[in-house]
């Protein structure tokens, strides 16, 4: 099989997918990042190489997510792109004509508005993480229910309870108060879903023109309670695509396909990187009072990248070494 790899290194999960030449997803691997992006990328690639039939050829690889630069250096990426562009590219391919993308991940949430296949507007949560996957995770743990049952239970609600949605702290104390008053669990969970949707639409979705088709993706789209709350609030059907939780990675693979088609060859270093020794370290530069935290990555003892310096003194040094 011939195709492209897409890697999305997010705060909570690291997703690796493989698409064939036609752009169809054949394999998807979903791992928890657990604060070790490099180890997870290595582990994921190893797993993928085991799944692919013998003689498969990797034509290119793309990375996205907050760890995209790090992952890009490790694997030798052909495309390193931000999450917004990656999500938009993937969704346009899977749901042609999509006009609104609602995306809620572990630590961030975003809205992307497309018209005629082109992104015309977007927003990301700025100062607040209320209503993202991490908060739902935490509440599920507090109520002692598995996160994958959350939505099913919420759907059983007959009259939802009103929960404050503006701030995760307010939401939590409101939930506890209602719970102590004797409200039922399904009603509380349904109320929480509605609160999160309200907060999302007022905060991230503020001033945006939400038109159908609406696609909901990201890890939180697994929650059927959230899907229903969105449909109620918007008065529009909300679609959840297959592979909704790895759409960023799909987009990265599609972007890699585009980049390789333009360039003619790939930078991919091969599956051998799963066995290489990577070390990251950081030091504080004392060149000026900015005291930049410089991060450096070594591959089997050789420095392959540095970043974090504002003046470019350290990152440029690596680049120049490589050119000469």
């Amino acid at each position: 099989m011939k195709g492209y790899i897409g890697i999305d290194v997010g705060s909570v999960s690291t997703n690796i997918i493989f698409i064939d030449d036609g752009g169809a997803v054949t394999d998807a691997i979903y791992l928890r990042t657990q604060g070790q992006p490099i180890a997870m990328v290595q582990k994921g690639l190893k797993e993928l190489s085991g799944k692919l039939p013998a003689g498969s050829k990797i034509r290119g690889v793309g990375t996205t997510g907050s760890g995209r630069n790090l992952a890009g250096i490790i694997v030798g990426a052909d495309a390193v792109k931000n999450e917004i562009t990656a999500h938009a590219v993937a969704t346009s391919q899977v749901v042609p004509g999509v006009q609104t993308i609602l995306e809620i991940g572990g630590q961030d949430s975003k809205i992307i508005i497309l018209r005629h296949g082109v992104v015309t507007d977007f927003a990301m949560n700025t100062v607040c993480a209320a209503g993202t996957g991490s908060f739902l995770d935490q509440q599920a743990a507090r109520l002692n229910i598995a996160i994958d049952q959350f939505g099913e239970i919420a759907l059983q609600s007959e009259s939802s309870v009103r929960i404050a949605g503006r701030c995760a702290v307010f939401a939590e104390s409101d939930m506890i108060h209602k719970q102590q008053m004797g409200c039922g669990l399904p009603d509380i969970l349904a109320g929480l879903c509605q609160a999160l949707v309200r907060n999302y639409l007022n905060n991230v979705g503020k001033g945006k023109e939400i038109l159908a088709p609406v696609v909901f993706q990201g890890g939180v789209a697994a929650n059927v309670g959230m899907i229903r709350a969105f449909e109620q609030a918007l008065g529009l059907p909300v679609k959840v695509p297959p592979y909704y939780n790895v759409m960023g990675a799909v987009g990265a693979a599609l972007l890699a396909r585009e980049a390789v088609a333009k360039r003619g060859y790939s930078f991919f270093k091969g599956f051998g990187i799963s066995n290489m020794k990577y070390k990251t370290g950081s030091f504080e530069c004392s060149g000026c009072s900015n005291l930049c935290e410089v991060v450096q990555i070594t591959e089997d003892g050789e420095i392959i990248a540095r970043w974090g310096d504002r003046c470019g003194k350290w990152s440029n040094a690596v680049r120049e070494d490589k050119i000469s």
Binding site: S66, K81, N82, E83, I84, T85, H116, V118, V119, T120, D121, F122, M124, T126, V127, G207, C288, S289, N290, L291, R310, G312, N316
Partner: protein, 366 residues
């Protein structure tokens, strides 16, 4: 008396020039850095905006270098900046820094008071000498602005990454060192030469972004996470709604120098959306967004410190302007965060959006 003042981008170059022309002993605070921010955030009120914290850090770091007098602008209007000079002075006093405050109220309302304060600072200087000093400061501001604009043009087109940055830093240094009108003219010639020597790909297609917003975060690269530099690196040519010399012309010379963009024009452009003063530069932000959209800019970025009231008013009006002109607008809010990944993600996505939109437009035109 050793005089200091807060940083705001390149402001220190003309202000230092003017004060030294008058024979004032000047202590320029060290460039704003993480240390400045840490000091400011430690002693400033938590709910104050980023400029107050950086001002405070600048004053404390300048005092470590021997400054004993602060010059700080004031204001009167809905923006709380108007009382920052007094608040900062009170905080410093409480911390045991014995510094004298010279508060400069906005010259539109208190021109004679401003001139009297400058005269007092300069000791025995004649009015003619003071006029010359202000003119020298203004000319420096103008030279700095022109070098900056040259950097805006060459950054997205440079052939060697970082070459614009090097030439720009060197040019500013030369302008800063010039201590007379003659030396300044010479330095300006050399700086122009240096900036035009940066090798560029003049045919490269770049997207154009207009920057609007609150003056401090707009003019100060440390506070806006080097927005202009990052955008340049992403292949974007930027222009700003406010330049130092324009501000001086509007607010100190009362618009006497003709041919520059003015506050009045921005407010006229804002008229269909916002007809009155809302504090700070809120009204100008709306007007300048309209002007950038009319001038065919691909996109507009608004920048302001977290909790900035005048700009929040402007932000809520911008979507209407946007639906009239179709120019995408993105808002960036600055605060204490120094992690640049989030900023970079948003800028990258915004530039992608603009480039793609432009591509589609050009294809459909053909």
């Amino acid at each position: 008396m050793r005089v200091t003042f807060p940083h705001m981008g390149n402001l220190f170059i003309p202000v230092k020039a003017m004060l030294q022309y008058l024979g004032v002993d000047v202590v320029v605070p060290p460039p704003s850095s993480k240390r400045t921010l840490t000091i400011g955030a430690k002693y400033g009120p938590e709910f104050a905006c980023l400029p107050l914290k950086l001002n405070l850090g600048n004053f404390i770091e300048a005092s470590e270098k021997g400054a004993d007098t602060i010059i700080m602008a004031g204001g009167c209007g809905p923006c709380r900046f108007g009382y920052y000079a007094q608040i900062e002075h009170a905080i410093l006093k409480e911390l045991g820094y014995d510094m004298k405050l010279i508060g400069l109220e906005p010259p539109q309302k208190h021109l004679t008071e401003l001139l009297a304060k400058i005269k007092a600072l300069s000791g025995t200087s004649s009015w003619w000498h003071i006029f010359q000093a202000i003119r020298f400061g203004y000319r420096k501001a103008k030279a700095v602005d022109e070098v900056e604009m040259a950097a805006f043009r060459s950054r997205p087109r440079e052939l060697t990454p970082g070459s614009t940055e090097k030439a720009y830093a060197k040019s500013l240094e030369m302008l800063d060192r010039a201590d007379s009108e003659i030396a300044l003219a010479e330095a300006k010639r050399n700086a122009d030469e240096l900036m035009s020597a940066v090798a560029v790909d003049s045919k490269k297609a770049v997207v154009k972004v207009g920057l609007i917003g609150e003056i401090y975060t707009l003019l100060d690269p440390f506070s806006n996470q080097y927005l202009e530099r990052t955008l340049g690196r992403l292949g974007t040519e930027v222009d700003r709604s406010i330049y130092l010399s324009e501000w001086v012309n509007d607010h100190i010379f009362m618009g006497l120098v003709k041919g520059l963009r003015s506050r009045k024009k921005a407010c006229e452009a804002a008229r269909p959306y916002l007809r009155h003063f809302v504090g700070g530069h809120g009204q100008e932000s709306v007007g300048n967004a309209v002007n950038f959209a009319r001038a065919g800019y691909d996109g507009i970025i608004q920048v302001f410190p977290f909790t900035c009231m005048p700009e929040i008013v402007a932000e809520s009006i911008l979507p209407e302007m946007r639906s009239d002109y179709g120019t995408p607008v993105m808002t960036m809010i600055m605060d204490e965060h120094t992690g640049e990944a989030g900023t970079l993600t948003r800028l990258e996505a915004f530039v992608d959006l603009l480039a793609r939109k432009k591509e589609v437009k050009e294809v459909s035109c053909k």
